[in-house]
Symmetry: C2
Subunit: 202 residues, 2 copies
DNA sequence: GTCTATATATTGATAGAC
DNA sequence: GTCTATCAATATATAGAC
């Protein structure tokens, strides 16, 4: 028992190591986190880490992939919904926010620490990120084509929406007074209001 | 001449060092940047840095302060404008975006690297950040009180707006195809549409 | 004001006992 | 599967010549 709920669960040592790393990468950043700290939080000597993971870089790569998987698998459940584009956007924003909050540590690695990757892992990260953004762009473009959304630059609209969503990483605290559902609802409403047609005659 | 426009200007050595550091802190992050790299970009041996700056930490503190000054001084020119709250919000978002783009390196230090500070500098950073957020909260609360904005949680609204604005750090490139004015206009429109009353009867 | 040389600490990672 | 001991590299920072 380390006193940290993210690490104390009954799981394999390898998983304890990865969870400790994800927690520290989210809260301190990859470069500011040492293998010694990860080992300490996981309850091991630092050399023991290398029995479970080949390197610090490889750990980050695995965590970034895992965070990306959480986001994309959650989003795909929403992407296929047979709903008006406006409601699909609402669902997409809600899903992103709730998925982040539920899987904070690994998703934060994807959102914040991807640039610390090198080599093939770095390229894969940017490809995955672009794919995720691309899905939102298709959604917004679809809404404009259908006349549900006002005509506006699609890329900037998605940067605005994902900026709002991704920034949650920087301020959300479980004891911060905002239930996840409240944040998800309010942010979905912001995204929809920013895009739906209306007030053009003002 | 280093080939980097942010550093080549005709200025004192001290300023060259600070500009090199700011550029690297923005693009690589504080922890991933070494004094050796800063010296190289500034065109000095690494020991020579310490003639101009007492430590790496102190440099970051100075840059974070400078970035914060850019944002707050620009915002204060807007804060006193005698305009409807809706237009003051539009101006505030526009000003934030344009100020970031003009003073990217130091403002990015304020937005992204503040958490790397320690001791008194760390406390001062959080105080300044809270003050900046507080100004936006007053603006939003004022708009709600006057009936210009729909009733909504003020803190979440400001997190949404500043998230959208701060995330520009992560995607803006001078050659990215978006003129600063275009980004500023679109983002101001998003913020306003997210908050103004309307469509409540739908 | 810039340099060479160096002190000291810490890093990620490895070797090998148990 | 975890440990102690250690390696080689790099980090920030200092001392002192010029």
């Amino acid at each position: 028992m380390t006193g940290n709920a993210a690490v104390d669960a009954e799981v394999t040592s390898r998983e304890r190591v990865l969870r400790a790393a994800a927690y520290l990468f989210r809260t301190k950043g990859f470069d500011a986190t040492s293998m010694r700290e990860i080992a300490q939080l996981a309850g091991l000597g630092k050399s023991s880490l290398y029995h479970h993971v080949p390197s610090k870089q490889q750990m980050l790569g695995e965590l970034v992939d895992h965070g990306m998987d959480q986001l994309t698998s959650a989003l795909q459940r929403v992407a296929t919904a047979d709903l008006p584009t406006t409601e699909r956007l609402r669902l997409a924003v809600r899903t992103h926010v709730l998925t982040y909050i539920e899987h904070r540590d690994s998703v934060a690695c994807f959102i914040q620490e991807g640039r610390a990757l090198t080599g093939d892992q770095r390229g894969a990260f940017f490809a995955h990120r672009d794919r995720y953004e691309g899905w939102f762009r298709e959604l917004v473009a679809d809404g404009i084509a259908k006349g549900e959304f006002r005509p506006t630059d699609v890329k900037l609209a998605v940067f605005a929406i994902l900026g709002m969503c991704h920034w949650v990483v920087r301020w959300y605290r479980p004891d911060g007074g905002f239930p996840p559902e409240k944040i998800a609802d309010d942010f979905a409403e912001f995204a929809v209001r920013g895009l739906v047609t209306g007030q053009e005659g003002g």
